[in-house]
Point group: D2
Chain length 138, copies 4
């Protein structure tokens, strides 16, 4: 399936008193990578809003393998898993040598802004943009 990699760096404010990135901050790195993925396929949150829907996260899980330290460079690989009812991604955080630091998964559903109703299937324009990207780069 379609995969993209994004470079990141651990900032001072990301690090906790054990000298490693605080486990809750991984959610930020992952969201940042997911947004960059959606930017790359030209269907980011702003575009969704124009189409009348938002895409809240409904499930998230993460496994921490190796710590990330202050000023450390790492990559987040975003892998598109599924896009019918849910938009599902898998993430792998890797250090400079390609060794895995963390793996995570997210699931999102579309909700119409006006009616506040959850869509059973992802809205067509989003599905099309994802299909197009899979055909082009996947």
């Amino acid at each position: 399936m379609l995969k993209m990699n994004f470079k990141m760096k651990a900032e001072f404010y990301d690090v906790d008193s054990m000298g490693v990135v605080w486990h809750g901050n991984y959610v930020k790195f992952i969201e940042s990578a997911r947004c960059a993925f959606l930017d790359a396929i030209d269907f980011n949150y702003l575009r969704m809003k124009e189409c009348g829907f938002v895409l809240p996260v409904v499930k998230f899980d993460i496994k921490y393998i190796k710590p990330i330290r202050f000023n450390q460079d790492f990559e987040v690989e975003v892998c598109l898993l599924e896009f019918d009812s849910f938009l599902k991604f898998r993430y792998e955080l890797k250090d400079g040598e390609g060794s895995r630091l963390s793996v995570a998964n997210s699931a999102q559903v579309a909700v119409w802004v006006e009616s506040k109703e959850t869509c059973f299937n992802l809205p067509e324009p989003l599905q099309k943009a994802l299909s197009r990207a899979v055909r082009a780069f996947g």
Copy 2:
């Protein structure tokens, strides 16, 4: 002028790799205390929104005197300074013995949500609520 005190505690996620609360997290403690103050005078952000305005922070300064450590209890004293063009507060963070940990100041202006225009003076309902509170408790 009107003063109120709010009890807080430093959480694990607030602390940086030097073992003290990260300096940027004081903005959260202070916002939390300011919101509790506005709740107490019965004019919180939700009420403002109903009246059609928001109250963004336009200036903030802080001096750090003593560090705050994990699990430490402290108080934020919120002191109302001014409420004509700007809503101005002064804050003192104090430890259990009353010794000062930090002092800060904020200034906010009112902006009408619909027109996006800044108000030259704080909207009347907010000014009235503040005057009433000053007479009652100040």
Copy 3:
């Protein structure tokens, strides 16, 4: 198994542009509740550090059921699941009517600070404190 409940409130800085608590901020509420649990059984992170170990989170998962809004009061129920190799907790976030907002799970392992080695079993003093609490309140 042993359960404890902690009251919390969603702050302005917790809320995202969709007007609900940003999904990553639940990790903070949950950590805050877990620390309060460990305080209550008199074996918090400071005590662990004195014993020479830390307790990093190695796994975390969460399901979001209903959104939490600005200024909303809610409770985090912390339920101790297991404490031999891993310290495992289950969390339920509930609103004022007891309806579930979110459910989550965490797993932690003990790591000796000096040797940086992971313990196969949680250190004895922590296991004893947990057993004692289960007998007393569970």
Copy 4:
């Protein structure tokens, strides 16, 4: 005096319920820019720690001029102001057209890790690195 510019982007998690970057998150952008500046002169926080000192922020002030929105690109200009007793920087956040979004100032002092004593003057190796950078690029 010596100035450097760093490109940044506002993430979804940076934005509050008014649809603009939450005012407290500017502290992160500014810290990130300051750390990049110190990296560039080859004297970052890791190097300071090797030299036995840390550099806590003791004063910070900020003025918010224009809001920053989700996904907006902006720059942080870091300008070195002073480096004898205090390390002082001035920051300007600018949008793509160079118009000012925010201005801020920070002051830091050096504290010896072992003795926990504050230095009256910044440690010599840091002063030298800063002088060298000013001569080379200022």
